[in-house]
Amino acid sequence: MSIYKRGKTSAFSGYSKFMLMAVAITIAASIKVTFMLDGGRKLPPEYESIDQEIKQAGLDVAELSALPELPTVVTSWGKLENSSKTYGFQIRPYGQTDVADSGLYAGPLKSWSGIAFGPTALMLAATKEIQKQIPVFLYEYRIEGEQLFINFSIVGT
């Protein structure tokens, strides 16, 4: 005589360890794969700031295009020559080779460079006035024997 006894079953206990493990492994693997793939979905570091950059660039472009174009260097040089005669100081243009690496203007605008010199007080007054009229950048200067020497670059189109 033998007894066959059927084990008690309920909704969840009927599922074997393997079944529950299969579900758990699938869930864990899905999460891992999702995280792994998500690691490859990085946005460039500039992503957050690009809108601000565009906004700023737009403002700069708008501001700059609202400004008038600069006069030609030829015109400005002519004005400077006239002023030097009026005030009584000397100007000497630099050659193309003198300008390279000399600390004079190096930018997108066209430029003509030179040296201006004359009595210190006169040069100081004249330079201030000329800078109001023509776009001229001032660089290295020396005061020596009551004379002022200034390296300059006139910029324009």
């Binding site: 005589m1 946005l43 800078q131 200067y141």
Partner: protein, 315 residues
């Protein structure tokens, strides 16, 4: 009135067979050799012992009446609450002088199903297992087929149970497989959505980069003809003029001058503007111009400097 055993009867509108069954594991003790018992119902919630059925009998009924579900008699009676407790002996007559009985523990609560010891059968109004047991005090049950409802599950042979379990297991695996597939599909859908969002953001970023590049190109074009801020060195020019007004002999420092750093160049673009005063100047210019800093030298001159960006004391 009794229920015919071992033949099809209609109960609850269904053709079924009611077979003899036994209650309690003790009942298995007085069974014949080669009998195999299968559990029909486990221990009841009220403590009633499990109910078993003879598998050989079940097999015979299966062969005789294929497809007709088989239920145990005690199973049916308990399921329909037709067993009245309260005495040591409960009798269900199946014939004139024969029947089956339930035996309860006389030392326990005779009204509790948990007190049932076992079940067996009697013949000729005599219980072979309990010689001398008076039957006149026993409760006699009288139950017909009318109005009965069927228990939850019929009896199954071991093979049937195995098949059923196998099917249940198989079904569970199918469910598990379904869940796994659903999880994977969900993960795939989430990943696809994340991928799409990322691609969208990247495309938007690329078009913004292009926009920025266009603006930069436009800016570069404008910078070839326009100047955002015009050069203006008036502050430095004014200050030098102030100094020269006081000291017409003011000069730029040269290499080797006392108190002047080596290699110093004077440039309008420099932050620090440096000069050397005339020797034996009567006034320390720092006392005249708050923006000027001076340092006296043994030659009687001052080394004078100011910061071109410092607005302090500017006029």
């Amino acid at each position: 009135m009794s229920i015919p055993l071992g033949v099809p009867v209609e109960i609850d509108g269904q053709d079924v067979i009611i077979a003899r069954d036994v209650i309690g594991t003790e009942a298995l003790g007085h069974t014949r050799e080669n009998q195999v018992f299968t559990e029909v119902e486990g221990i009841g919630e009220d403590g009633r012992p499990p109910i078993f059925i003879d598998e050989n009998e079940l097999g015979r009924l299966r062969n005789a009446y294929p497809g007709v579900p088989v239920y145990g008699l005690w199973q049916l009676l308990f399921a329909n609450d037709k067993v009245t407790l309260g005495e040591e002996l409960i009798i269900y007559p199946t014939g004139q002088n024969s029947g089956i009985y339930l035996r309860l523990n006389p030392n326990a609560d005779l009204y509790s199903p948990a007190s049932i010891l076992d079940s067996s059968e009697y013949k000729d109004n005599y219980i072979a297992d309990l010689p001398g047991q008076p039957m006149d005090k026993a409760i006699r049950l009288s139950v017909g087929t009318a109005g009965l409802s069927l228990p939850e599950t019929p009896a199954y042979t071991r093979h049937e149970k195995y098949e059923k379990d196998r099917q249940i297991t198989q079904r569970r695996w199918v469910i598990v497989g379904g869940i796994c597939v659903a999880v994977m599909l969900t993960a795939a859908a989430i990943n696809y959505a994340l991928f799409s969002i990322h691609t969208m953001k990247l495309k938007a970023f690329q078009s913004k980069q292009l926009e920025l590049q266009t603006l930069a190109t436009r800016m570069a074009e404008l910078e070839r003809t326009r100047l955002m801020v015009h050069p203006n060195d008036s502050l430095v020019l004014d200050r030098i003029r102030d100094l020269v007004d006081y000291d017409p002999g003011l000069r730029s420092p040269t290499t080797g001058d006392f108190g002047v750093p080596e290699g110093l160049s004077t440039n309008f673009t420099n932050e620090l503007q440096m000069f050397v005063t005339s020797p034996n100047i009567s006034t320390d210019l720092a006392t005249v111009y708050p923006w000027a800093k001076t340092a006296k030298t043994p030659h009687g001159t001052y080394v004078l400097s100011f910061d071109r960006y410092s607005e302090e004391g500017s006029q």
